[in-house]
Amino acid sequence: MEASSTQWKGRAVPLREDVRFSTGRGTYISDMKFPDMLHVALLRSVHAHARILRVDLSAALEMPGVVCGLTGEDAGRMTEPLRSLIPIPAEIDAYCLAYGKVTHVGEPLAAILATSRYLAEDALEKVRVEYEPLPAAVDPEAAMAPDAPLLFESMGTNIMWQDRFDYGDVDEAFGRAAHVLKKRFYIQRYSSTALETFGCTAVYDDHREQLTIWSNDQRPGQAMPIVAHSLGLTHARIRFVTPDVGGGFGNKRKAQYLIIAALLSRMSGGKPVHYMEDRRENLMALIHACNGVMDLEAALDGEGHILGMRVRDIADEGANVLNPTVHSILKLGNLTNCYRIPVVRYEVNSVMTNKCPSGANRGIGKPFMCLAMERMMDYLAGQLGMDRIEFRRKNLVPPDAMPYTGPSGALIDSGDFGGTLDKLLPLIDYEGFLRDQQAAREQGRFLGIGIAIGLEPSTSNASAYILSSGRRSASGAAEAAMVRVEHDGSILVLLGDVGSGQGHETAAAQIIADELGVPMDGVRVSPFFDSAVTPWLYATGNYSNKFAGTDVGAILGAARKVRGKLLELAAHLLQKPAENLELAEGCVRSRDRHDHGKTLAELAFVAYRDLLSLPSDMEPGLEGRFYYRPDIANVPDEKRRVRNQLFASNAAHAVTVEVDPDTGGVAILKYGVVHDCGTVLNPSIVEGLVQGATAHGIGAALYEEFDYDEQGNLKATTFVDYLKPTAVEIPDVRMDHLVTPSPYTPLGMKGVGEGGAIPAPAAIVNAVENALEPLGCAFDHLPLTPERVWEEIEKARASRRDEP
């Protein structure tokens, strides 16, 4: 994509944040020092499930440096219960600390405040807790049984949401099918584990009834009302500030920790109180992606068209009482991936177990949906004896069908999936690889290639949750921004979504610079969100790849308000019609006489100081605020169809691997990605996000797993056991782009950030199965550890030996 020479958009502009971060000058939450700051340590449950009989802080409170402490009972007295965002079968009295019982290993049940974290941790060891251990519900299918141990007896069940969505006459489609195939898939628990853990500092000034929270929570718009409700404070008395955020990926949010810090600050007489998760706490108890089980059944006609699909899904939400069903709802919006499948049944089960609460995590549910679907595509092609790429092509939604609405109402606004595949095959040298594979097989080596294509829908529509909640607690999608030409002509931008590595400061400045005709240097985008000055709403935050879908609209909307006013003011001062003026080179000037104009500084002088030179009906100031909402968001219709997310990027991944049958090791040979996120604002940002997300998908496929034993003990609680891929394990991912602009976003952009993480696991398992095709191995569990691969190879070899 060529950018015109005067345009900032489209250029790989170096990121201004990169200068700050590469010199170590970022300001992350734990870098913010406050005088007399106190530190929190949390006592966490050693049981997966137990009644709390007694929590005795007395000995701990005697320890050196300790200021005060807090138990779940205290929290129960001092705060309002936290209510689930999605109604569950019974209201649970949940607080910022475990109340009455603990429901997962690592659940915080008491807090100690001390002058240092060292001393706070010393004191934790003196807290006496009496538990009555209870049997744990660990396996999600077993947890659904009537006699399963219940996390919350008042609910009478562990099933939070169970429903069946019939989009069309599915049974009719299966009735006339030439082929039917049913498969079961599993996904493990994993998480993006941002390198900076969750943290916050709170100052609760009781005299002024003012609570200030600094936190790297990535969804301040949602955290604010939870904190306000819990503490009984009006929003107007809370100020929420987000500094630089060291990675988010969805799961950096936990209102409970903000409440704990606020309460302890209040108890300590308004001292600044800092809580920072340590890595073990982060891995045990922040947020995991749901593990799950999915039965997928597809009906085909004789020519290889998919007629319909039945999906039965069980999402293991862990002890997620506050924000369940997110994974299930996003799967519902992505049931048919890039394929034209006319009818679908979705049976959804959202189940509680005694594990870490689930929640948002790069892709949220879509990696599992894509895994099952793209694995199924390979199996179906195999059953038909068709080439798996040809089979996919046959079923893709074609470009001329765009915008396309799938059976569940999900919108694919744009895309050319066949075109994406066309670019992918040469990128990975598909034909050449097939020849190499054949030669290798003759030598007894196991080379394989896997393909997966994946939709990457972005910008969540809150009304989709009406499907699981039956009530309208929020709807639509949005973000807010402010653009102000300051008194000296410099430009300040505030954006609700501060980003956590996505380069929003640079990207927003590119947009504003073009819109207001100024060099990028003249545009300052605040790296901080501050609820006292930044416009915000419930949707505000950094999630759902929403920059392209809502943030750009907010930035542009605010800039255009200012632009309109600049033109109007300049027209008045220059005595020229506004339509004869343009914004360029830091001026508003005559289109035909570039030396006839006013600089932004001159206009700002009038707008802020020389007020009597303004038109008499013009409000002083040069500030624009804009709350943008895409108008294509809808609410579920009578057939329960909804646009869960609004703009669909897509990607095709191909990976070649070699499997060592003796060690079970999987080596990635080549990796190729063709990505389409519509118009590209800054190619550096897009490439970085795709590469990073792909690495995360590779981690999920081969390394990462939160495994629990039968008692509900988590086996991976440090980075020694929870394996993130390093620079050696991640290959050089080759990339190419296709640009199909969205017809619905202001600049044609679509979301980017989650994408790579969605098809990568499917591509890798497909490749490993393809490599082991001569043996006939099948893998339904991730990650593909060497042991798991080796065991399947042994099994396949044994069954071969047993054959007559």
């Binding site: 170096p14 990121l15 944040e17 990169d18 200068v19 700050r20 971060f21 590469s22 010199t23 170590g24 000058r25 970022g26 300001t27 992350y28 734990s30 870098d31 050196p64 440096g65 002058t115 240092s116 060292y118 001393l119 010393d122 993006s192 584990t193 941002a194 390198l195 900076e196 853990t197 630089d244 955020v245 060291g246 990675g247 988010g248 340590d278 890595r279 956590s500 590595g501 996505q502 940002i685 490439e687 970085g688 996000l689 590469q691 990073g692 997300a693 792909t694 690495a695 995360h696 440090t718 980075f719 020694v720 993130k724 390093t726 620079a727 050696v728 991640i730 050089d732 991912v733 790579g756």
Partner: protein
């Protein structure tokens, strides 16, 4: 501030060429000392058990993990943190290459990556891609997939010689 009964030592460390002195609890990690007593917040704490590499600093010219060293062990030694490599106004060639190649996103792993790369280039001025990957494999990045980082280190290598 801290328990009087614990063992405390006067500790003096040269950080980025400047003396940094404090009486510290012997159990205080070097990472906490550099951040809290020295104000070098470019030292990032990512795991505190010596795995992620975010807290890496140079001790007497060699990359080490400051979360699994005690501050008292650095007494009399020279430490370089990311702040000592260059500034926003005058970044080192390696830092400039990180910007040029967008070798970072959230910036949390970056200081450790840079210092691990400095250590590599000292021993291996013209590294292959494999050598860079192996040398940086003790530093986790959750954002970039490492691609930009590897490009940046290789691009900066010629300018970091000598």
């Amino acid at each position: 501030m801290t328990d009087a009964s614990t063992d405390r030592r006067a500790t003096s460390v040269t950080v980025n060429g400047r003396r940094c002195e404090a009486e510290v609890d012997v159990r205080k990690t070097l990472a906490d000392f550099l951040r809290e007593d020295g104000g070098f917040t470019g030292v990032h704490v990512g795991c505190e058990h010596g795995v992620c590499g975010a807290c890496s600093v140079l001790m007497d010219g060699e990359v080490v993990r400051s979360c699994i060293l005690f501050a008292v062990q650095a007494d009399g030694h020279e430490i370089i943190t990311v702040e000592g490599l260059g500034s926003e106004e005058a970044p080192s060639p390696l830092q400039q290459a990180f910007v040029d190649h967008h070798a970072l996103q959230c910036g949390f792993c970056t200081p450790g990556m840079l210092l691990a790369a400095v250590d590599l280039l000292k021993h291996c001025p013209d590294p292959t891609e494999t050598q860079v990957r192996e040398a940086l494999s003790g530093n986790l990045c959750m954002c970039t997939g490492y691609t930009g980082i590897i490009r940046a280190v290789r691009a900066a290598a010629p300018q970091m010689k000598g």
